[in-house]
């Protein structure tokens, strides 16, 4: 709808290490959707009875800034939507983390979005994955996420808001998180109408798209350390 090819992603920009206080942090922009992520931890988990001597835990918090939506102000303080998204983000990231390395500890990921135009949970996952790597948390793989789907009769990648809200034909919006090496899927949601064959096509498209995103995530991490090397 915005002149892109069906499999073409919106412009992506990623940076690592943008929040000084955090142990790891990242900025991830795809089109007009922007996510900031900060990782604090591994740090001691309170209250103590939540601690697990066998493994650390991962906690994720997704939040839209009050001015981040076109239209009405987003009331601060968490909604059912943000709670669910926080939960699926946690599930998308946890499989790659080696949390057994951090007994009794928590790794906290805070994600804030200053502006959104669809695909915000995927942008959040991409930012969070870079921030976790930046924090030096042991990771088996990179996680990249993208929304794929169907608009009218076309299978497309990276739906924007207008495409999600398309009303003159069937639409399916499928956020997917893909692990870079194994191509396993750790986030899969869908709303809309789609056949099984089309779903499988869409997942193939998601794998290809996630490859492109992973390259940008890796580049952001390398870039941070390049800058540090220059300063020395």
């Amino acid at each position: 709808m915005d002149g892109r090819a069906l499999d073409e992603l919106r412009p992506i920009e990623a940076k690592a290490g943008i929040i000084k206080n955090a142990d790891g942090s990242a900025y991830f922009r795809i089109g007009k959707t922007v996510a900031y992520a900060a990782v604090y931890g591994p740090r001691e988990l309170h209250p103590k009875f939540l601690q697990d001597p066998k493994t650390g835990i991962l906690r994720c918090y997704y939040n839209m800034m009050p001015f981040s939506g076109i239209g009405d102000r987003v009331r601060p303080g968490g909604s059912r939507r943000s709670k669910e998204i926080s939960m699926v983000i946690q599930k998308a990231l946890k499989p790659v983390l080696e949390l057994e390395d951090y007994p009794n500890a928590t790794v906290d990921v805070f994600i804030e979005l200053p502006q959104t135009d669809a695909g915000s949970r995927c942008a959040a996952i991409c930012a969070a994955a870079i921030a976790l790597a930046d924090a030096g948390i042991s990771m088996k793989d990179m996680v990249s996420a993208i929304a794929v789907g169907k608009v009218d009769d076309k299978i497309v990648a990276d739906l924007n808001y207008d495409e999600e809200a398309y009303e003159d034909g069937p639409v399916a919006d499928i956020p997917v998180a893909v692990l870079h090496n194994t191509k396993e899927i750790t986030l899969l949601q869908m709303d809309g109408e789609i056949s099984k064959d089309e779903l499988l096509q869409a997942l193939e498209l998601a794998k290809k798209a996630s490859d492109k995103i992973a390259k940008i995530q890796f580049a952001a991490l390398k870039d941070k350390y390049k800058v540090n090397a220059d300063q020395r």
Binding site: I19, A38, F67, D72, R73, P76, I111, D117
Partner: protein, 257 residues
């Protein structure tokens, strides 16, 4: 809790020095204002003072005016201290720290009459614009008072009205009509530590101060809001010195807009 830190900072201040090498009335570098950092807001800005980074966004909405001011719009200021910005912050509803910040910023803008509330009225008693200012912290390295106040003002300066026609509000179409600001109230908080006065405290200094005074002032030197904080009392002489310092530094910050 910070006895040794306080002793060290006081001993430096007595020699006119600070633990990061600044003079007493010097802001950290850089002090920058970046406009239009969120396309979904009607106006927005990011302010950086040293390592402290905050964002402010303005959302305009149409509401029914309050019965006692039927011909006026309104403003609402909210501050969120994000756990993303400081390891000590936790998720949850705003605590007293965030509420005080928001109210000090609110009063600085409201009482200076920077925004003409009557111009926000669309239909008397029925419809008026409400200016919602949300300020959020990205990296908290001290002096949120000045950073939040400056970010709010910058976001207001960046604000344009969305299209409103025949009773329909269309957020997707922005008009060329800017939010008019009659004045530019800038708030500076001066901190007293032992016998010294400083501006723009870093994290260490924020932990050991005795009293603080936030002073919002406009370019003509008029004061529009005050807030005294901290555990210790201030004398009239203290206040005299602190207000002078705040007005002078407000002019420095105003130049960054």
């Amino acid at each position: 809790m910070y006895k040794e830190l306080r002793k060290y900072i006081v001993s430096l201040l007595e020699k006119g020095k600070r633990n990061d090498g600044r003079t007493l009335d010097q802001y950290r570098d850089p002090v920058t204002v970046q406009y239009a950092i969120s396309e979904t807001a009607e106006g927005s800005a990011q302010v950086q003072i040293g390592d402290t980074v905050v964002m402010a966004g303005v959302k305009l909405s149409i509401e029914k005016p309050f019965p006692d001011t039927p011909d006026q719009g309104g403003i609402a200021v909210n501050v969120e201290l994000y756990p993303l910005s400081n390891p000590e912050y936790e998720p949850g509803p705003p605590g007293i720290e965030a509420v005080e910040l928001a109210r000090v910023v609110d009063r600085g803008i409201r009482e200076s009459k920077a925004i003409d509330m009557k111009k926000l009225c669309i239909e008397k008693g029925e419809k008026a614009w409400t200016v919602g200012i949300d300020i959020v912290t990205i990296n908290d390295a001290g002096n949120l008072f000045d950073a939040c106040s400056l970010a709010a003002l910058a976001a207001l300066k960046n604000t344009v009205f969305p299209k409103y026609e025949d009773g329909e509000l269309n957020y997707k179409e922005k008009t060329k009509k800017k939010l008019q600001l009659g004045k530019e109230p800038v708030s500076v908080t001066v901190y007293k530590i032992n016998k010294s006065y400083i501006v723009d405290p870093n994290m260490d200094e924020s932990r050991v101060y005795d009293a603080r005074l936030s002073v919002a002032s406009t370019a003509d030197g008029l004061l529009s809001a005050l807030q005294k904080g901290g555990e210790s009392a201030l004398t009239a002489e203290d206040i005299n010195i602190m207000v002078d310092m705040a007005v002078e530094k407000a002019n420095f910050l105003r130049e960054k807009l």
